[in-house]
Amino acid sequence: MPVIKDVVCTLCGCLCDDLEATVEDNKITKVGKACKLGRAKTMGPFLHERIEKPMIRENGELKECSYDEAITKAAEILVAAKRPMSYGWCSTSCEAIEKAIMLAEETGSLIDSTANVCHGPSALAAQEKGAPSCSLGTAKNYADLIIFWGCNPVHAHPRHQTRYSTMAKGAFTPNGKKDKKMVVVDPRNTDTAKKADMLLQLKPGTDYVLIEALRAIVNGHEDILPDEIAGLPKTKVVELAEMCKAAKFGIIYFGMGITQTRGRYKSGDNVASLISDLNQITKFVMIGMRGHYNVTGFGQVASWETGFPMAIDFSRGYPYYNPGETGTNDVLMRREVDAFITGAADPGAHFPQESIKHLFNIPAIQVDGYANPTTEFSDVVIPAAIAGVECDGTAYRMDCQPIRMKKLVETTFKSDEEILTEMIAKVRELKGNGANGGA
């Protein structure tokens, strides 16, 4: 039975690259070394209902059609629109992302990634203050203080602790967990917190306050702080600050507890400032716990293609970026866009109610392997191969390391890259500048 080794998992931003997939009759029947998320993702195409055929909605019902008909209809919608929007493209390859950006440019669209509801504020924070970082390999080998702030890797990044952080045995931490301290900052006593040396269960929405207090202590101004900070006794905050100062190499892994709460990007900005302060004393870095496995790749590709990592508006003929204005949820809630294309993401499941209401009002195109809430408002549905299982490509891990995904089985589904390439050609044809023309 052929076993493919060193398979790259395409679920979360850990991009574990040591999975072992058993392939029988062009189906994956077993996945070794994966977590529950990775196993579900890698075996998903063989366990769950797929979108089997392209479909176009007629009189309220999705009717099967050919790939060519669906791609043509999608191109017609985008060309006819005055203010089209492209969203997602984060659970796919960088090669597909490049094409999605090309399609957005060709159609004068807005284009945004799932960072809009994830680590978008972290990108803004990095632009304001920088983001002192390192590879997960460096973190594994050096870090002796690991802080999980507003993230819950036991649930969202299950192998993070064994491969890269708390449990991993590194060159300077040969005894793994015994050589490291682990801190969790979260309003909930999460499953991740169970094994922490310290849990700071702060009041919801007070992350900025707590970061600011830590900065004050690190900078020698402990005396100005009140006895209670963010719902915590001052002594506990001082204890954490002292742990940070005593560490040889500290790292803050941060998640949606920083980006989605009060303060948004200003909290991430303040984490960067805390890291900067701590680097006057010891070595400290920060890494965002990225969700979609290649949302980091979107940021990379978009940055080198357009100069901006997300929320890019091509309507002026050149890339324009202002996330509070050009971010997906802002334009949807302003009811500004008149056509929508999404791929390798599920805004139907992950956007607030007000955004989804508008998506029911406008023509929407979905490129995905599976039916999901987005299918409910989509007028053109185009099935895609699952990257990393049915087609290869490049993805970027949460620490910005590119990793090549493997193709494990053959498929008759077109890849996102192929679908987008054909759509670009069709758009150019409709605009009258031929398959090789256009900007």
């Binding site: 978008g120 909930r188 948004r264 990007y265 949820n329 809430p373």
Partner: protein, 125 residues
């Protein structure tokens, strides 16, 4: 009725059912509200009985679950369509809606929880 703060977020079961969002498994993984024991008792609700969670942005009915470690002033709904029916859409001018820390009320109800397709259908205007 209790007044509380709603937090939404990932869970491993929600993540493991991402590719089957039309299934009962996804509903079971994403359509519930966790409360601590005291709050469940205060509402007179048992595990798996429905509760109505309301915010300034909407209302959703989901089964109640227990998380003994939750503070008194926090309830949790996994990220997904049910949580997003009531999260704060305001991006505060920086692109990101408010998926965590939303003032909410929870009360017992005999109303049924909507499945994914039924919930999405409520957005048609």
């Amino acid at each position: 009725m209790i007044e509380t703060i709603l937090i939404s977020g990932r869970t491993i079961d929600q993540g493991a059912t991402l590719e089957e969002k039309t299934s009962q498994a996804y509903f079971d993984a994403a359509a519930y509200c966790e409360l601590n024991e005291g709050n469940l008792e205060a509402l007179g609700v048992s595990v798996d009985q429905n509760v109505k969670v309301a915010t300034a942005h909407g209302m959703v009915v989901v089964p109640a679950k227990i998380d003994k470690r939750l503070p008194d002033d926090i309830v949790f709904i996994p990220m997904g369509p049910w949580a997003n029916a009531i999260v704060d859409p305001d991006t505060c001018g920086c692109g990101m809606p408010g998926f965590k820390g939303i003032p909410a009320t929870v009360e017992a109800t005999t109303d049924p929880a909507l499945n994914m397709k039924e919930l999405m259908a409520t957005y048609k205007e």
